[in-house]
């Protein structure tokens, strides 16, 4: 890497990495990885968690020093290792986790550790510069605003602007859409298309294959530390791409385990008039045994709040919750768990995992009262529960004693699901359980959800990804805190997305035309206002969408 000068014919690529090897102790993170991103190209880097994507990004941004191999930028050798300023002028990275200081202003964040003009900071000039920079990339943000007051989307745009402001022509985006909702993703894509027109090259890391197809020209697949495929996106079948990632046969198309469905049984979860001011309007909801109910909608639209309220994390202003016909004290996680509500929180890092502790401890966190007499926890029983869950959910771990921080994202998420399932809940409330996990893990997690239902529990799946909602028996689309449409098993993605986005339905709940064509059996009723309920109870109770033959 120190004396790398590989001349390519014609125009040198924006970045070329050849034969990169990186080991961490006994783990080989990259084993001869090769990657070429041409100028003006949008190049996707995909692979399962643990395939080496992050390591490759670290190597390309000068954060990790490869054990072997060479990196060139525009045909020139990469900067000396450790010269971070030079690396930053070559490749800019927008990391998966925010790399901004929330308490500082946008202007300061844009100039972190490279304040202009020598020693004394001239604030006025700094803000003016920041404003110019933001305007240049079309980011409409006040430079004097504090970073923490911005929305997720704006923060991300600021990060992208900062990355570009160093003059790098290669921008690495590490799962930029994981933090955004559909509208934000669309705006991000518009922006990225505009930037490509100026000649910037992108390396785009995503778990969402449709984003790869939407945005990228070329895709490189990493598997088990090696690149296994580099091909133009156009003409590459999605099945082949998945097969390359997983190393096996293509994923079964369509939702898994459809055949396992059986008619739903008794109601296991029933919510009546549940409301939380500023989050969602009064909601009636029933989940039956053996049924997966989808709650479709953006996080900001109240779906996350509904899930959290059912799990007892948030206290509703009105309404009540019943599990198997027995009332549950609202606003108490303990009571919710004891009543039989298993909860998979939206953000596994924040609410789901104790990173330094073992798989066994995390798995049994909610069942410690069942692992021994008199308040004791017998480690043998905890390990037994953990082993059962490890095999049931196919968690890839060295054993029950491994800290969860050492697991890949998908397996961490499985641990969170295991924690919820360890108590054999009557109903599982899973909020975006497939966030930030790879295709194969996603499939496995959704399979687990189906199995939970098949075993006689109910599931409420909160998501905004149509692919996830395919496994549901019924889907309620939520927009701005209201249920705006109901679907059965078969729906067109376009209709569902339209309903989630509130297209055509959101503003006038009284007689809005349903977003879906009447081919779907469950009627897409406008939703439940409190005033509507007395007048047209059938419009809001769940029974009209109830058991089907």
């Amino acid at each position: 890497m120190r004396n790398a000068t590989e001349e390519t014919a014609g125009e040198p690529p924006a970045v070329h990495a050849e034969g990169i090897v990186k080991r961490y102790g006994p783990t080989v993170a990259l084993d001869g990885a090769t990657l070429t991103v041409r100028r003006g190209e949008a190049h996707a880097l995909v692979g399962r968690n643990g395939a080496g994507k992050s390591t490759l990004v670290s190597v390309l941004t000068g954060l990790a020093r490869p054990d072997a191999g060479q990196v060139t930028f525009d045909g020139l050798p990469a900067p000396r290792w450790g010269d971070t300023a030079a690396w930053r002028r070559r490749a800019a990275c927008v990391h998966q986790r925010p790399m901004t200081v929330p308490e500082l202003t946008v202007a300061e964040n844009l100039h972190l550790d490279r304040f202009p003009d020598g020693r004394v900071i001239r604030w006025r000039a700094l803000r003016a510069r920041a404003a110019r920079l933001l305007a240049e990339y079309g980011v409409e943000v006040d430079p004097a605003a504090r970073m923490k007051d911005l929305g997720v989307e704006q923060r991300q745009f600021v990060e992208i602007a900062r990355a570009l402001s160093d003059g790098a022509r290669l921008i690495i985006l590490d799962e930029p859409t994981a933090r955004l909702d559909a509208g934000g993703i669309a705006r991000l894509f518009t922006k990225l298309h505009a930037l490509r027109a100026t000649g910037a090259a992108f390396l785009f890391i995503s778990h969402h294959l449709h984003e790869v197809y939407d945005l990228c020209d070329t895709v490189t697949v990493l598997r088990d530390a090696r690149p296994v495929l580099t091909a133009p996106v156009a003409g590459l079948a999605e099945d082949d791409l998945v097969a390359a990632m997983t190393g096996g046969q293509a994923a079964p198309s369509g939702p898994p385990a459809r055949s396992a469905r059986r008619p739903p049984g008794e109601p296991v979860l029933h919510a009546e008039g549940l409301a939380l001011r500023g989050a969602f309007a009064p909601l009636d909801l029933t989940v039956r045994a053996g049924e997966v109910v989808g709650l479709a909608g953006a996080a900001a639209g109240g779906t996350t709040a509904i899930g959290e309220t059912l799990a007892g994390v948030r206290t509703p202003d009105h309404g009540r919750i019943e599990v198997r016909g027995r009332p549950v004290r609202t606003g108490s996680v303990r009571h919710a768990i004891a009543a039989g509500i298993g909860y998979v929180p939206e953000d596994r890092h924040r609410d789901g995992l104790v990173p330094g502790r073992s798989v066994a401890e995390n798995t049994t966190l909610a069942v410690t009262d069942r692992l021994g007499p008199l308040g004791t926890v017998l480690p043998s029983r905890a390990r037994a529960v953990a082993r059962r869950m490890i095999s049931a959910l196919d968690i890839r771990t060295a054993g029950p004693g491994q800290p969860v921080s050492g697991l890949s994202g998908g397996n961490q998420q499985k641990v969170v699901v295991a924690r919820a399932l360890a108590r054999d809940p009557a109903v599982l409330v899973a909020v975006r359980p497939t966030n930030g996990v790879d295709v194969k893990s996603k499939e496995a997690l959704l399979g687990v959800v189906r199995e939970v239902a098949a075993a006689g529990s109910g599931v409420l799946l909160v998501s905004d990804e149509p692919a996830d909602l395919r496994i549901c028996d019924r889907v309620l689309a939520v927009h701005r805190g209201r249920v705006v449409a109901r679907f059965g098993r078969d729906w067109a993605e376009r209709e569902l997305v339209a309903a989630m986005e509130g297209v055509g339905a959101g503003e006038s709940p009284d007689r809005a035309p349903g977003p879906a064509a009447p081919t779907d059996r469950p009627t897409d009723r406008p939703t439940d206002r409190p005033t509507d309920r007395g007048v047209r109870p059938q419009a809001v109770t769940e029974t009209d969408g109830g058991p089907r033959p």
Binding site: D351, V354, P379, E451
Partner: protein, 344 residues
């Protein structure tokens, strides 16, 4: 659900996991990383002075470790659950003073108390004062949500002042027999304080390992939000731990008072640095969620041995403070590398 899924193939999973397997035993190493250090200190002590390996000296070291040890035990529990309490060093002095103030005769002695309660209540009173101080810290941190570091620093100063005010800045020498017993008694040829301290460490270790509320401390310290969403009563348990910490500090005060037969005006003054040093050297994370009581105990013994070896080696008294600080820093660095973990 579990039955159906068990049939899934896991062969590749096993192969993949094997490649990334960390040494399973390695995680436990940091708990015993100080054992060789203690051994080296023993050898050093033997080389420095023939008096080191005598029964009296070793028992003296262990006895001196008990009071510090109990504070470290309390602090370790608090640190594991992700909090900190600086005021323990004042509790060890104030709790005995407050108890004695309530039971000592109002007239006649050098120290004039209130004589509100009979003398035998001194021990329970002292423990209650300790627990109440811990609970007050809990109120500040958990109900008012003020910063724990500053709140307990304020508590440290305030309680030190209360101690001085109550005792009028003097040592209290006339201690009821019941109060002095535990600190003086010798059971089976070893001071009772040593047995009690070991028993409490064993109890604490067992609670952390085998009781659901003990295990919850790690979850709370590691990620309070995750603990909350798993149904653990985070605030209640944290509050209990803070009260237990105060209780242990008060108990240390009882042992210390009995040991020396008096409560000095500066009892516990400046100990908190050693308490934190012993805990961190012993592998307790200041960020919470990590560490064992065995590690904390070895941390205490290491510090006390260092002081003992220095004393026996004839270090001039005016230099002991310098060397003490230096050695704690060296011990931190050593345990950082033998433990293989960042001490954050």
């Amino acid at each position: 659900m579990t039955d159906t899924a068990q049939q899934r193939p896991t062969g590749r999973a096993g192969a993949l996991a094997a490649g990334r397997r960390p040494h399973p035993a390695f995680a436990r190493w940091r708990d015993v990383s100080l054992v060789p250090v203690i051994f080296v200190l023993g050898v050093a002590g033997f080389v420095v002075s023939p008096a080191f390996l005598t029964r009296d000296n070793l028992i003296g070291v262990v006895q001196q470790s008990t009071e510090l040890g109990l504070l470290v035990l309390g602090e370790a529990l608090i640190l594991i659950s992700g909090r900190m309490d600086l005021s323990l060093e004042s509790t060890i002095g104030l709790a005995p003073v407050a108890a004695l103030w309530l039971v000592t005769p109002a007239h006649g002695g050098r120290f004039e108390g209130l004589e509100l309660l009979p003398a035998w209540t001194a021990v329970p009173l002292c423990l209650a004062v300790g627990a109440a101080i811990g609970a007050a810290n809990g109120f500040l941190m958990l109900k008012l949500r003020v910063n724990g570091f500053i709140a307990t620093l304020g508590m440290l100063t305030m309680l030190r002042g209360l101690h001085l005010g109550l005792s009028e800045g003097r040592s209290i020498g006339d201690v009821p027999e019941s109060f002095a017993y535990l600190g003086k008694a010798v059971w089976l040829g070893v001071p009772a304080a040593v047995w009690l301290c070991l028993a409490l460490f064993a109890l604490g270790g067992a609670a952390l390992g085998y009781l659901r509320h003990g295990r919850a401390l790690y979850a709370i310290g590691g990620n309070p939000e995750a603990a909350r969403s798993a149904g653990i009563r985070v605030d209640r348990i944290t509050w209990t731990v803070l009260a237990v910490g105060g209780l242990l500090a008060a108990f240390a005060g009882i042992l210390y008072t009995g040991h020396y037969g008096a409560v000095s005006a500066s009892q516990g003054n400046g100990w908190i640095f050693q308490v934190f040093a012993a805990a961190v050297i012993g592998g307790i994370s200041l960020k919470g969620g990590r560490g064992t009581l065995f590690g904390a105990l070895t941390g205490v013994l290491t510090l006390q041995l260092v002081i003992n070896v220095m004393t026996l080696g004839g270090v001039p008294p005016l230099w002991t403070q310098f060397l003490n600080g230096l050695i704690i820093i060296i011990a931190l660095v050593i345990s950082r590398f033998t433990g293989g973990e960042k001490q954050d």
